[in-house]
């Protein structure tokens, strides 16, 4: 369900601007961190499962990143740094070798080693209910080289795999817990991870508690907090008020409409966390009107993305030039978002055989911010002579309409992946049958480029390839991109030492309470 708007906005948010990063809780170095205390966290919904291999819900990851650890992790610039793996190397394009950290124990006391890692990869690939199959599909086999070295043999080169392993697919669960607990792991993750916090209890619909792991392998910095208590609070207004009254210390997301007020509240600290996400509309290439390229262009020239970001998002986001967010190393700021140009739009309408405009139906989520965005776009299109009909649906209907390509123009919100591949390949590569390529785009030159981005491992070279990809996407228009949202999080001033990472995950290892 990660593409529901809330999840998606939650994962995302573009700090984008340097100024945004300036407003964060004081860096931990300003004072000496203090041990102890319970951090009370309010999320919009509770976790769905404690088993990372079966998890399809974004909020689960918020807990996982404190309890479990992936082989590699992200830094604030989305660079990849060691996690459970001390180092890695790539002898050739189809082999990835990880040197695993020694002296790491799972919370149940068993040792983390190469066998444990291999066990996890095999479970992801074979467990019937595994949601990770697609992410590790390129891993042909996993070999144990020695007690703390594993080798992944890949089916084909996959430059994005390392970034994929910074999240659920790279998290290692205690094999003993998996074998002994089976399906019960979904509700009880006691002893299962290696992270700075241990799972304590999860009372469904009420709270989930984790506590400090005093035997954590990394002796630098935290964990400082005694406990973290997660609580679901579905209503955004009430969640923010709970923070203001001190019932909780942290919230995962502040709605754009509340950001200004929250920032002016002296008892709150608001942090604009950069995001990986994008709001866009898939345009159906196999159905009128958007089977005609000129009409897709007419649409793009009629929409004023900057105004959408300003009036709908209240600048809690930045205009998008394509699928790559400004937080990514692959973002090329020399490629501007498509500018509104009504004269060009008219010309394209004539070229597409519809000089007087046309009517098109937009399918979108029945959620306030989506509706507002749809209405602003509707007004903008009207000026170009294009009539937009808005069809509001719930997210399950949206998914089924998209998967069956039963739409003309459909809202698509992607929570984003650290590597650009995750935001691009599966959407634009020619794929028969059901896929995330809802637009149905099939462009040989694009296909070739996309495969190349996976084969080349040099980052600078990949960036050049992605710039070419973005330019083709702006020309072919399988999707019309609007915004990379910012994901503001808010804290009580007691909370210190939080470091925002653009994947939106709240890692509490170095967080402490004043």
């Amino acid at each position: 369900m990660e593409i529901s708007r809330r999840d998606f906005v939650k994962s995302s948010a573009v700090a984008a601007t340097a100024a945004a990063v300036g407003v964060r809780p004081e860096p931990a170095t300003a004072q000496t961190p203090k041990k102890g205390g319970t951090l009370r966290v309010g999320f919009y919904v509770e976790a769905a499962t404690m088993d990372p291999h079966l998890s399809g819900s974004k909020v689960d990851r918020q807990v996982y990143h404190n309890v479990y650890e992936p082989l590699v992790t992200l830094d604030t610039k989305l660079g990849i740094k060691p996690g459970l793996a001390e180092s890695w190397s790539q002898p050739d394009a189809k082999t990835l070798v990880f040197k695993l950290r020694r002296g790491v124990k799972f919370h149940d006391g068993t040792e983390f080693n190469a066998e444990a890692a291999k066990f996890n990869f095999e479970r992801m690939k074979t467990e019937p209910k595994s949601v990770r199959k697609g992410e590790v599909a390129n891993v042909e086999s996993v070999e144990v080289v020695d007690s703390h070295t594993i080798r992944l043999n890949l089916k084909r080169p996959d430059a994005a795999l390392l970034a994929t392993l910074t999240d659920r697919a790279g998290m290692i669960i205690s094999p003993k817990v998996i074998q002994e607990r089976g399906a019960e792991l979904q509700r009880n993750a006691k002893g299962a991870g290696t992270g700075p916090f241990e799972f304590v209890e999860w009372v469904k619909d009420a709270h989930l508690i984790i506590k400090r792991n005093d035997n954590y392998w990394n002796k630098q910095g935290g964990p400082y907090l005694e406990r973290v208590r997660y609580r679901p609070i579905p209503d955004d207004v009430v969640k923010l008020q709970s923070l203001q009254t001190g019932e909780i210390d942290v919230i995962d997301y502040v709605q754009p409409r509340d950001v200004a007020a929250a920032k002016s509240d002296k008892n709150l600290v608001v942090v604009d966390v950069p995001s990986l996400a994008a709001f866009a509309y898939q345009l159906n290439h196999h159905r009128p009107p958007f089977n005609v390229k000129a009409l897709r262009e007419a649409l793009a020239y009629s929409v004023d993305v900057e105004q959408v970001v300003k009036s709908v998002w209240l600048n809690v986001g930045v205009p998008a030039n394509g699928p790559i967010p400004p937080t990514s190393w692959a973002y090329d700021k020399s490629v501007p978002p498509i500018k509104r140009d009504l004269a060009k739009a008219k010309a394209k309408l004539a070229e597409g055989g519809q000089p007087n405009g046309f009517t098109v139906t937009m399918t979108t989520n029945n959620i306030p911010i989506n509706i507002q965005e749809a209405e602003v776009i509707q007004a903008q299109l009207r000026e170009a002579g294009i009539t937009l009909k808005i069809k509001l649906v719930d997210s399950a209907t949206l998914l089924s309409d998209g998967n069956s390509r039963n739409f003309e123009m459909i809202s698509y919100q992607w929570s984003g992946r650290p590597d650009p591949d995750g935001n691009i390949y599966q959407f634009f590569k020619t794929t028969p049958g059901t896929s995330l390529n809802w637009s149905g785009i099939s462009n040989p030159k694009l296909d070739e480029l996309l495969d190349k981005t996976r084969e080349v491992s040099n980052q600078a070279e990949r960036k050049k390839l992605y710039t070419e990809v973005v330019k083709i996407l702006q020309d072919e228009l399988p999707m019309l991109y609007t915004v990379h949202p910012i994901e503001p999080k808010a804290f009580s001033p007691r909370v210190q030492g939080y470091e925002p990472i653009p994947d939106g995950m709240m890692r509490f290892k170095d967080v402490w309470l004043k």
Partner: protein, 314 residues
């Protein structure tokens, strides 16, 4: 009495059958697919197909319904598609806060409605009456979510007397639990109080105009005894009807209140389950809500007989 209950319970069976079949058909006809909703970001069609087969979702609607019915007859409501948790566990966990909230809301509504309606009826066409009617109108017009947010703002944020969200079980933690339910109970209770006030006021006025009331007064009974002994009891029937209808709604339909106050009740459960197209869970909750309505209707019938002996069934 025993025969009445048995008779009524038997009569509910076809209703339950119709409700479950109707919900089942509607759910499956609604666009959207539980597996797609669950694995939205996965492109692995074979994995989705395998999961669909494992959960039996690849069979025809009729076969799926028969299978569900068969399990139900053995007392098994199945498992949630999304979380794998047995539906019965999920539902029984959620029914507690819903029932507690419904009872508290009803208590609030009765505590407010009786004095207001009595004052209105006794002081008919005076300023007191008009104030009472205005209050009732206000309560009926005020949307739940707005009242909830205003209450939160006043008692939670400004005065800080009560917690503004979350649920603590009063049966386990006593006072803290009651406090956690006060604001939502008042939110629901005031709206209900408004309906009851109006109903009770008009039935009180009818009763006050009856001959036996004049007779009672003529005998020299005090006004209070007249009202307590002759008026109130005769005016209660419509109120019991309203309460009975509302009890079911309070249990299954307090979605917005549950949402705003972050209460884990049945209303939110069924809405979330519908959005996820979690068929077995939706079926389970709807079955429960339907049973709740039938039971409260049965209670109403029993209470009728107790209030007014003329209604007792032969």
């Amino acid at each position: 009495m025993g025969r009445l209950v048995a008779h009524r319970l038997l009569a509910t069976l076809p209703v339950l059958l119709l409700v479950t079949a109707g919900v089942f058909a509607l759910l499956h006809l609604t666009p959207g697919d539980p597996i797609d909703a669950m694995m939205a970001e996965s492109v692995d069609a074979t994995a989705k197909e395998a999961l669909r087969r494992e959960l039996g979702l690849d069979r025809s609607i009729a076969v799926q319904y028969a299978a569900w019915m068969g399990r139900l007859l053995r007392g098994d409501l199945g498992r949630s598609i999304r979380t794998g948790e047995p539906v019965i566990e999920n539902v029984s966990r959620r029914i507690r806060p819903s029932l507690q909230l419904a009872l508290m809301a009803m208590t609030v509504s009765l505590l407010v409605a009786f004095p207001v309606a009595l004052a209105s009826a006794v002081r008919h066409n005076t300023a007191v009456d008009r104030a009472g009617t205005t209050f009732a109108l206000f309560g009926i017009c005020m949307p739940n979510f707005l009242l909830a947010l205003l209450l939160i703002f006043l008692f939670g944020v400004t005065l800080r007397w009560l917690p503004i969200s979350g649920y603590v079980d009063p049966l386990e933690e006593g006072w803290a639990g009651v406090r956690s339910l006060v604001l939502p109970a008042v939110t629901l209770g005031l709206a209900l109080a408004a309906v009851i006030t109006r109903t009770l006021r008009s039935s009180l006025l009818d009763a006050l105009a009856e001959d036996y009331v004049r007779t009672a007064r003529a005998k020299g009974l005090s006004e209070w005894i007249v009202i307590r002994g002759h008026v109130l009891r005769n005016a209660l029937i419509p109120v019991v009807t309203v309460l009975g209808l509302q009890l079911g709604t309070l249990i299954g339909g307090a979605v917005i209140t549950e949402y705003v106050f972050a209460l884990p009740g049945v209303g939110r459960l069924v809405v979330d389950a519908v959005f996820a197209r979690d068929y077995p869970l939706v079926q389970g909750v709807i079955l429960l809500i339907a049973v709740g309505f039938l039971v409260s209707n049965l209670l109403v019938d029993i209470v009728y007989g107790w209030i007014d002996p003329r209604i007792r069934v032969r």
